[in-house]
């Protein structure tokens, strides 16, 4: 009797979990369907493991930044400067490595630079009161420009970086197969989920994005919360720059260009809204692989690059429409 009650209860719990994550689940199913479609259109590519390993190699760079953008959007703000932060921090990493030969020193400088850029964004947004879209647009140009000026347009080859232990830790192949950056992406996704949904700080982020007045009346330091979110974004962009430079064993001044749109596509397809106060880390994680597989799939299917953007657009619009419909039903 008791046992059967417990079973009913646990079934209810399962059902509740399914309902709670149904948007993410449907997204996951859609991603699988798209991959199955690609398996049919180009079996030679999609029935072999290589293509999936290549996703694991390339998706994490956009993915790591998409995690940060998810948190920024939950705050009700936006950041357009992250591709430039990625390039600029990458430059700091490459330069420090070049000068000292130390990966660790480069790493510290790179992350600190990203954090500083985020701090500047956050201070201008909260203390001066400029909208984040304006501040970060300016920061995007400023940092991209600085990068070009400092590097004088040249790339930097990271000689000997392959032999460093930190190379193996960040972008090596775990077990000779799995790219380490994919594990970093998964690890950071778990951290971001814990931070946003299980930590006091995340609670503040959610309320600041939901209703700033409420947050303020309940004694939340709104400015500090926003500043920290932008610092976090800067740090994640810098980390992406570090990973990308290491993987290519080269830093180049146009790094991050073209990542802006894919990053936002990832986050929106994942189901995070523009309106703040809510977001999904799991959705972003799945979305990164969905967006990442699209381009490869379209090209492998024999369609020209022109089709890539068309199909991108189609998938994104379908996904965000579905999210909006679900959201309305949930009464948000």
């Amino acid at each position: 009797m008791d046992l059967s009650n417990m079973r009913v209860r646990s079934n209810q719990l399962h059902l509740a979990a399914v309902m709670k994550y149904r948007r993410q689940l449907s997204l996951f199913v859609i991603t699988l369907l798209i991959i199955v479609l690609f398996m049919i259109t180009s079996p030679r590519v999609f029935l072999r493991p290589n293509i999936y390993l290549s996703f694991l190699t390339t998706v994490p760079f956009v993915g790591v930044m998409a995690l940060g953008i998810t948190v920024v959007l939950v705050t009700g703000e936006i950041d357009l400067s992250f591709p430039a932060v990625m390039a600029f921090s990458g430059y700091v990493f490459a330069t420090l490595y070049e000068l000292t030969g130390s990966v660790l020193l480069g790493l510290v400088g790179c992350i600190a630079t990203g954090g500083m850029a985020g701090l500047c964004n956050g201070l201008l947004i909260t203390k001066i009161g400029i909208p984040s879209i304006v501040v970060t647009l300016g920061m995007q140009f400023l940092l991209r420009g600085s990068t070009h000026v400092l590097a004088a347009g040249f790339q930097k080859v990271l000689r000997g970086v392959v032999d460093r232990p930190l190379y193996a830790i960040f972008v090596g192949k775990v077990g000779g197969v799995v790219p380490a950056q994919a594990l970093w992406f998964a690890f950071l996704a778990v951290c971001m989920w814990l931070l946003l949904f299980r930590h006091k700080f995340g609670d503040h982020v959610l309320f600041v994005g939901d209703n700033e007045n409420t947050a303020r009346m309940m004694g939340i330091n709104v400015d500090r919360t926003k500043i920290l979110v932008f610092v976090l974004m800067g740090v994640l962009a810098a980390f992406a720059g570090l990973l990308d430079s290491m993987r290519m064993r080269t830093w180049w001044p146009t790094m991050g260009e073209g990542y802006m749109m894919t990053t936002f596509a990832t986050v929106f397809v994942g189901g995070t809204s523009m309106f703040g106060g809510e977001g999904t880390i799991l959705g972003t994680f799945i979305g990164a692989f969905l967006i990442g597989s699209l381009e490869a799939g379209i090209v492998a299917a024999g369609l020209t690059g022109f089709w890539t953007q068309f199909i991108y657009g189609l998938i994104i619009l379908i996904a965000v429409t579905l999210h909006a419909v679900f959201r309305r039903r949930e009464g948000i």
């Binding site: 930590h199 609670d203 959610l206 209703n211 309940m218 004694g219 939340i220 009464g331 948000i332």
Partner: protein, 266 residues
């Protein structure tokens, strides 16, 4: 012996040239519900905002639990610490967030690293909803979003939160505006709960019939002054309504006279 919870004496508040409050005396004793009534612009909300630490006051004296408050040090946070909670209509809730997040916002139960203790938070929310508020079933759980609750239930969450954190005085600013009759009754029930737990409440409303049924005393304000104090036992609902209408009418007359005068001056 000092038996008042709150004692405000000769409170003045100027907004530039406008004298919003002109010498208000206001007192709240332990375990009583006060109905604060008056027309628009009488100064009710200004008085409440001073009491809850949102506005500093220009002149006067405030004592909370016998302790003199200095206007410079008083703030919304200080008010919370001294056991005064204000419930504004819907404003202090995050609608997209769950009940448990709303109830513990700013006072989260966390471990040392700042991670929320989920089990505890959920069970405490359940306790607040069932024991304080009398929510039974109805598909509402600690994980429900506030946006799925009715207007009256939302007020209930805000009141429940205040009670849970042991507020001695809960101020409700127009809590029943824009609510249906059934929802209004829920809110009145919550106010009764506050009183049953030995706490005090200041209830501001335009609707005398609501205020009359739950209040022990009434304070009538008019143009920045307190103009009447009544115990419920001493005044009927009709007389109280007449009193309010009388003040509104004289206020209107005064306003008209002022307008005429200024026209003549031109």
């Amino acid at each position: 012996m000092n038996t008042s919870l709150i004692r405000m004496e000769n409170i003045h508040k100027d907004f530039g040239k406008v004298h919003a409050l002109r010498g208000v005396d206001f007192e709240v004793r332990p375990n009583e519900v006060i109905g604060l009534i008056g027309d628009n612009g009488a100064g009710k909300s200004t008085l409440i905002k001073i009491l809850s630490g949102v506005f500093p006051y220009t002149k006067g004296k405030i004592e909370i639990k016998g302790q003199r408050i200095s206007p410079r040090q008083y703030s919304a946070t200080k008010a919370h610490k001294m056991g005064i909670e204000t419930v504004y209509q819907e404003q202090a809730l995050g609608l997209k967030q769950s009940l448990w997040r709303n109830i513990f916002l700013g006072r989260q139960l966390t471990n040392r690293a700042g991670f929320i203790q989920m089990k505890k938070v959920r069970s405490e929310t359940d306790y607040i909803m069932k024991d304080f508020l009398g929510f039974t079933g109805g598909g509402v759980s600690p994980d429900s979003r506030v946006s799925t609750l009715s207007g009256g239930e939302r007020q209930g969450v805000a009141i429940g939160r205040a009670m849970y954190f042991e507020a001695d005085l809960i101020i409700l600013d127009e809590p029943t505006r824009a609510l249906s009759v059934k929802e209004v009754n829920k809110v009145l029930g919550f106010i009764q709960q506050v009183k049953d737990r030995g706490k005090s409440c200041v209830y501001i409303s335009h609707t005398i019939s609501n205020i009359y049924s739950v209040s022990d005393r009434f304070v009538v304000m008019d143009r920045g002054k307190t103009v009447g104090r009544y115990n419920r036992t001493d005044i009927s609902e009709k007389d109280l309504t007449d009193e309010l209408i009388h003040h509104s009418a004289t206020a209107e007359l005064a306003e008209q006279r002022k307008r005429l005068n200024s026209k003549r001056d031109k």
